[in-house]
């Protein structure tokens, strides 16, 4: 889902939206909402917050589209808005959060990798995988907002380092170092489970 980054047709849709065509902006919403949902959800770990934030992200983009000059791609621009708004939201929310999603019941069981891991496995192993997913979510929430953003975009969404660097406005080296640090932290958080 995540690897291909189609920007070419966006330029035309953006131009039409800037000219006041609401259908063109709707097309952009349809195209980007699943991707941005994954991004915002993995930052917030809460469906309700994700829904509200995503509405706000597109509302902000709609208000600002007249000022979008095309220096970056629409893809980068809308992702920057989503990441910045999510980080601001998380800063306001502080440590108060609750995970609304039980991962093993929300689509992950349709995942090919998950099926491979669990096929023919015994109930104990299935329970272990569910527990692992739960712990992974908890570990993600222990990361700082900046590190979580990088992990979400790279590991979960499969974006290349260069694209993440553009979205966050940092160097590729910083992206790599944040990833390294975040992976190490996640490894430590999950170490207890691996033993």
């Amino acid at each position: 889902m995540a690897e291909e980054i189609p920007h070419n047709e966006d330029a035309e849709l953006v131009a039409r939206a800037q000219a006041g065509d609401p259908a063109a902006f709707d097309a952009l919403v349809v195209k980007y909402s699943p991707r941005l949902y994954g991004l915002v959800y993995n930052m917030t770990s809460n469906h309700e917050d994700t829904n509200d934030l995503l509405q706000d992200v597109f509302a902000k983009a709609y208000r600002s589209i007249a000022g979008f000059r095309g220096k970056s791609s629409f893809y980068t621009w809308i992702h920057s808005i989503a990441v910045n708004m999510s980080i601001n939201f998380l800063k306001k929310r502080g440590r108060r959060y609750h995970m609304s999603l039980d991962d093993t019941e929300s689509g992950v069981q349709n995942n090919k990798e998950f099926i491979e891991l669990t096929t023919g496995s015994d109930p104990v192993r299935e329970a272990d995988l569910a527990e692992l997913q739960r712990r992974l979510n908890e570990a993600m929430m222990k990361l700082s907002h900046d590190h979580r953003a990088v992990v979400t975009m790279f590991d979960i969404q499969g974006m290349p380092h260069a694209e993440i660097a553009k979205i966050l406005g940092i160097s590729e080296g910083t992206v790599r170092s944040r990833l390294f640090y975040a992976h190490r932290q996640l490894q430590n958080f999950l170490e207890e489970f691996h033993r």
């Binding site: 919403v29 600002s64 979960i156 969404q157």
Partner: protein, 193 residues
């Protein structure tokens, strides 16, 4: 990145990309977005929309300018230059006034002086109050802010009032005390319970 190159943590994290809501969620999402947009457009005045668009244009322009001409190192350089200029100005000012002495305010104390103050009352013109002051005869005639002034020099007939550190409120005092009551004595009730 090929799957086999991924760390175990990355493999686990990749599973999270399948955490998506059901497909009908996104159909409803667009509908909800359109409804919210319409409601928002009806609520907001046109000037505010125009203002937001202007702000968006300017923020993009500012970001573009700062990314081109003012990266972080230039900002630090500018701040350092500003500090240097302030330091040079301060040093030059110190060199103009060596010793840091204050300009002398001269007052001829051999003649009686009149201090004038203005008091303002509500809805009235300022009232000037003149207080004649005669200093002791042996006070130095030329009196500057640098010169040392002692109490007996100014008021030779008055002994300075000294408050002892250990003095208790009930103890007899050598000098009269003046207490300004918040209420006139005549309004005090004879007894208070």
């Amino acid at each position: 990145m090929p799957e086999e190159d991924l760390s175990p943590i990355s493999k686990l994290l990749r599973m999270k990309r399948h955490e998506q809501p059901p497909p009908e969620y996104f159909e409803n999402f667009l509908r909800e977005f359109q409804q919210r947009q319409r409601a928002e457009m009806l609520r907001r005045p046109a000037w505010r929309i125009a203002l937001e668009r202007m702000q968006a244009r300017f923020s993009d322009l500012t970001r573009e300018i700062t990314s081109r001409i003012a990266p972080a190192q230039f900002a630090y350089g500018g701040a350092s230059a500003a500090v240097l200029v302030i330091a040079v100005m301060f040093t030059a000012n110190m060199l103009q006034h060596p010793g840091g002495s204050l300009p002398a305010i001269a007052m001829d104390l051999s003649q009686p002086q009149v201090l004038t103050a203005q008091a303002h009352q509500a809805n009235q013109a300022p009232v000037a109050v003149e207080i004649p002051v005669r200093m002791a005869a042996h006070v130095p005639a030329r009196f500057t802010l640098d010169s040392e002034v002692r109490f007996p020099d100014l008021f030779p007939n008055e002994a300075p009032r000294v408050t002892q550190p250990g003095q208790q409120p009930g103890q007899a005092r050598q000098h009269p005390r003046y207490i300004l009551d918040t209420r006139p004595a005549s309004y005090e009730p004879p007894f208070s319970f």
